[in-house]
Amino acid sequence: MTAFSAFFYRKPRLRLGFLLSAPLLWLGLAYLGALAALFVTAFWHTDTFTGQIAIEWSLDNFKTLFSDAVYRTITLRTVGIAALVTVIDAVIAFPMAFAMAKLASPRAQRILVIAVMTPLWASYLVKAYAWRSMLSGNGALSWLSPGYGVTATIVTLSYLWLPYMILPIYAGLDRLPDSLVDASGDLGAKSFRTFRSVILPLTFPAIVAGSIFTFSLSLGDYIAVKIVGGTSQMLGNVVYDNIGAANNLPFAATVATVPVVIMLVYLAAVRRTGALDNL
């Protein structure tokens, strides 16, 4: 045993490789492997009569995806919903996180963090159906949305993903030293100026970190929109319908690459803000 540890102590690179091999194997096989399989499937097609997948390479699925206006509309709607949900969550979450991090006593802070996380313990479906009855024509919050539709979907998703925005911003604000805020005040800055020039720039990466959660979760959602979305559909619904109803796995895979590409672009843009260090 001693020889074993001594061996790895003398060879730090080997030690690192040894420790990383298991998680890397997991990442490579289970995660990247699945993504690669998805991407490969997108080039096949389904025999419509027998329902079998035919392994013949073609770009037809991608052609359909780009040439049919309906998929463009659905993609834009999905991205729009995800962006609005993110903005709404950021606007609501920031004051809440600020009050939690800077105004509450340490004891109250702990209670508030638990309170924010409590909704995450309840089932997604229960929450979505609760919103369905609240947004119904004679429901308590029917004034929020004109019937079921895109607005109702945005409201529901904003509620569902709010904790994922509050927690990173809270963590970011918690790390912000009070002395900086005091210094800004001592130098004569009013509260808005302090917010704009000191607090916001320092917590921006935290907000972006939260936005990665809300944006990606909304992008892939297809259940909330089925429950409160009325007639509208998102990218997830197209994937689901192609697997569940049409038995067309290759086209579902093609559509599923769209959110993957959108998220890659988003993450590349976000990397520049340093938000990935805040995750």
């Binding site: 009569f49 309906v70 659905i74 369905r132 079921y148 009325g230 509208s232 569940g244 109803a245 049409a246």
Partner: protein, 400 residues
């Protein structure tokens, strides 16, 4: 290798087109086997042997209850005790899922709706059924036997189980006078704009086609499941025109029930079970088959060609349509039982009237779910019809 064989069999079936003839209405007029394909040659079982001790059942939810959902609802355990066949139940959610699962060859029997049964026959996954080995078949409603969704070329491929219609339902306090036509759901000037609820599946295109059969006869639609280019475009356009009227599409019947109860929707297409459920909760609801007729389902128990437990499978077929069990299933699921003697076994004697179980005239007004395939189901050979893949694409486009 197995898969390849199945595929070859399917292609063979597809390519050998029958020059099918005759007018085939959607209903009883269709001669059995006019589907435009020849199924792979398979033999039905000649005689029962010893029960094999096991049976794998692929069923719609509610068709093979073993007490795991509700301890009081259990007709699988008595079957196991009677026959010694241990039953494994796998429920499925859509017809397409059933077809995919049957291709694995792991299941012995399946309860297939019309939009799955033909595909299973054509691909050779289901084999003919020797009805002489199913004593209770004698009591099955005559208007359910030898139909285009359970028989091909006069050969029976399964045992009818139960059926129902996709009804037009409305709230009597909001919709007056009582509608007698689907036009309340399709007409662009419908007074119930924004309060219509429609079914969320590509198969709903057939409802539009059925409406066009009555309202645009010059399109020449004979069967709402076999649409050529022009007819298909007309149906798609009708649904696009309907979309602004629709408040929601439903695929979960509980969701629809809630929308009707809260009057978020006041008129829509529904199953009998949904109407009963919602009425039971106090909503003023009424339902009917409108003048144009209606689409519906008629389910069939089929035997897998690769099954290794065929005696158990036949025992199940006979058991599940025996009067008492057929009544239990029909009552639990909310549909008309296939067995004529089932009505006497129901705990609620009014149900058979509610579901029109003995009403052949009512049954003939229903256009039962069938899988659209490129070979026109109505017997035309000069045009290609739209297959289910194209129906699905169009459905995505309609919802936008």
């Amino acid at each position: 290798m197995k898969n390849r064989k199945t595929r070859l069999a399917g292609i063979l079936g597809a390519s050998l087109l029958l020059a099918a003839c005759g007018t085939s209405g959607t209903n009883s007029a269709a001669p059995p086997g006019a589907q435009g394909f020849t199924p792979p040659k398979l033999e039905a079982l000649k005689a029962l042997g010893q029960p094999e001790g096991q049976l794998n059942v692929l069923a719609w939810p509610g068709y093979a209850e073993n007490g795991s959902n509700d301890p009081k609802v259990n007709w699988v355990t008595p079957f196991e005790q009677q026959t010694g066949c241990k039953v494994n139940v796998k429920p499925f959610g859509t017809s397409d899922e059933a077809v995919t699962l049957m291709k694995t060859g792991q299941y012995d029997v399946v309860s297939a709706s019309g939009d799955a049964s033909l595909r299973l026959v054509a691909s050779g996954d289901a084999e003919p059924v020797n009805t002489a080995l199913v004593p209770n078949y004698a009591d099955v409603q005559p208007f359910l036997k030898d139909k285009s969704w359970n028989s091909v070329g006069g050969v029976s491929y399964g045992i009818p189980h139960g059926w129902g219609a996709n009804l037009l339902t409305w709230r009597t306090d909001k919709v007056a006078p009582a509608p007698t036509s689907w036009s309340v759901m399709f007409d662009a000037n419908s007074p119930y704009k924004g309060k219509v609820i429609a079914y969320d599946s590509p198969i709903y295109l057939a409802d539009a086609a059925l409406y066009l059969m009555a309202h645009q006869p010059d399109l020449g639609i004979k069967n709402p499941y076999s649409l050529d280019d022009k007819q298909f475009t007309a149906a798609v356009n009708l649904l696009k025109q309907q979309r602004p009227l629709v408040s929601e599409y439903w695929s979960d019947y509980l969701k629809e029930s809630q929308a009707l109860k809260n009057a978020d929707a006041v008129v829509g297409t529904a199953w009998q079970v949904t109407v009963n459920l919602t009425k039971g909760e106090g909503a003023p609801l009424e339902s009917a088959v409108p003048s144009e007729g209606a689409t519906g389902w008629s389910d069939t128990w089929m035997v897998a060609a690769k099954s290794a437990h065929k005696t158990c499978a036949y025992k199940w077929l006979d058991y599940i349509i025996s009067p008492k069990v057929n009544a239990q299933v029909a009552e639990y699921f909310g549909e008309a039982p296939a067995n004529t003697k089932a009505c006497a076994e129901m705990t609620d004697k009014t149900l058979c009237d509610t579901y029109h179980a003995n009403d052949a005239g009512y049954a003939s007004k229903i256009a039962y779910w069938t899988t659209p395939i490129p070979q026109c189901l109505d017997g035309r050979t000069d045009v290609k019809c739209k297959d289910y893949g194209e129906w699905t694409k169009a459905w995505t486009e309609i919802k936008g």
